[in-house]
């Protein structure tokens, strides 16, 4: 295997799951997410030489994925989907056998968040980004990121924990 390909394999291929999940939560659509993964990896392969720091492969790929997702929407003007329909349709694929109902509720609540709240939350909780890294990724001020994370959790706290409490009483 040539060194360039080996580098691509070692840096980018293990991150496919991360790119898919990030794209899924951006697009709220598994089909689009798969497309974003393909386009992202193809673009990454073409520009792998521009990645100078191997330790930054993940933020580099996620930045590409974000751009590819935006390009898809820009080109195709994808129609929006009703969140309730989407969550219901996705339950069979997204649920886990050990805690299916709990995950379905939480996922529906996340899907219902406005994109401007959902994306920083995904970057923080799923990808482990700091607020500074989120600000750099999204091109926002640190203050704006703090506000969005705070509002995201406020909404989810009501939707997830509030619902659980009502159900248990």
């Amino acid at each position: 295997m040539d060194p360039r390909r080996r580098r691509f394999e070692q840096l980018c291929q293990p991150l496919r799951a991360d790119v898919y999940r990030f794209a899924f939560w951006l697009s709220r659509n598994p089909t689009v997410a798969e497309d974003v993964v393909q386009e992202t990896l193809l673009r990454a392969w073409r520009s792998i030489d521009s990645l100078t720091d191997d330790g930054k492969a993940r933020p580099w790929l996620l930045t590409i994925a974000r751009r590819e997702h935006a390009r898809l929407y820009e080109r195709k003007r994808l129609e929006t989907v009703d969140v309730d329909d989407l969550a219901a349709a996705e339950d069979p694929a997204l649920g886990r056998s050990d805690d299916q109902d709990a995950f379905a509720d939480v996922r529906a609540a996340i899907l219902a968040l406005p994109g401007e709240y959902r994306e920083p939350l995904v970057l923080q909780v799923l990808m482990g980004y700091s607020t500074d890294e989120i600000a750099a990724h999204l091109g926002l001020s640190n203050g704006a990121v703090l506000t969005r994370l705070c509002r995201a959790r406020q909404r989810l706290r009501v939707a997830v924990l509030g619902a659980a409490r009502e159900g248990s009483t």
Binding site: Q10, Q13, N29, A57, A93, V125, V160, L161
Partner: protein, 241 residues
């Protein structure tokens, strides 16, 4: 720090290690409850965000397209935008989402261990620095990491050069790099995962095995020719709960 500021800080990041916030939470019962709730919320969010990844995403067709591009052959996208175009439109999109969801569900149910291996490989990219350490860690450091998962390692049984507690599928698990005669291997002790028998994999530049253990499942990976099976046997024998 006032309660309002503390609540804002907690809602931004419940896991924050800010000293002023920690001091406030320690002496304010209401904020302590708020923090516990938000930590529980984050635990559930993390698990929910880790949606199953369709097997197609792990397939090699992207590599073939890359190979075509590398050879200066015009690579025609076989999926991507063309497939997206087909799913445009209200009912068509809904039907497509449902179909993909069902298909993904079937794949998820049919190949759960492939996904486990893929997730382990994906995790490797999160800590590339783990491979670069070569000096053996003090026994106490390794013990501290393992103790968080109620595990222990027989003294002098294996040489650990890296030890960390990592998030994996919504749980905290030990992530070790073990030095062997044939090269370094990564060992993840997946206490909450079960595999019925040894399963090998070769993916994303890593060779590895998943092996059942009394401690759950051991995932052992190498980037080169290191003997992952021997490392798995040795580590499994050295670990106890």
């Amino acid at each position: 720090m006032k309660c309002g500021d503390a609540r804002f800080a907690l809602e931004v990041d419940p896991s924050s290690d800010d000293l002023a916030l920690a001091a406030h939470v320690q002496q304010c019962p209401d904020c302590a409850v708020h923090r516990r709730e938000l930590l529980e919320l984050d635990r559930r969010l993390r698990a929910a965000l880790e949606v199953p990844v369709p097997a197609a995403v792990h397939a090699r067709h992207v590599d073939r397209r890359a190979a075509a591009a590398d050879g200066n052959v015009i690579a025609m996208p076989t999926g991507g935008p063309e497939r997206t175009r087909r799913v445009l439109g209200g009912l068509a999109l809904a039907a497509s989402v449902a179909s993909v969801a069902v298909l993904a569900g079937l794949l998820w149910a049919g190949f759960p261990r492939d996904s486990l291996a893929a997730d382990v490989v994906a995790h490797m990219a999160h800590e590339p620095q783990a491979w670069s350490t070569t000096a053996p860690l003090p026994t106490a450091d390794v013990a501290r990491v393992l103790a968080r998962s109620n595990l222990s390692l027989r003294p002098r049984s294996v040489e650990v050069t890296y030890a960390s507690t990592c998030w994996f599928r919504g749980r905290r698990v030990p992530h070790l790099v073990v030095r062997t005669e044939s090269g370094p291997v990564t060992v993840m002790v997946l206490t909450h995962e079960r595999v019925p028998a040894r399963e090998g994999f070769d993916e994303g530049g890593y060779r590895g095995v998943l092996v059942p253990a009394v401690t759950g499942t051991l995932a052992v990976l190498a980037r080169d020719e290191a003997d992952v099976d021997a490392a798995a046997m040795r580590t499994r024998a050295a670990l106890s709960m």
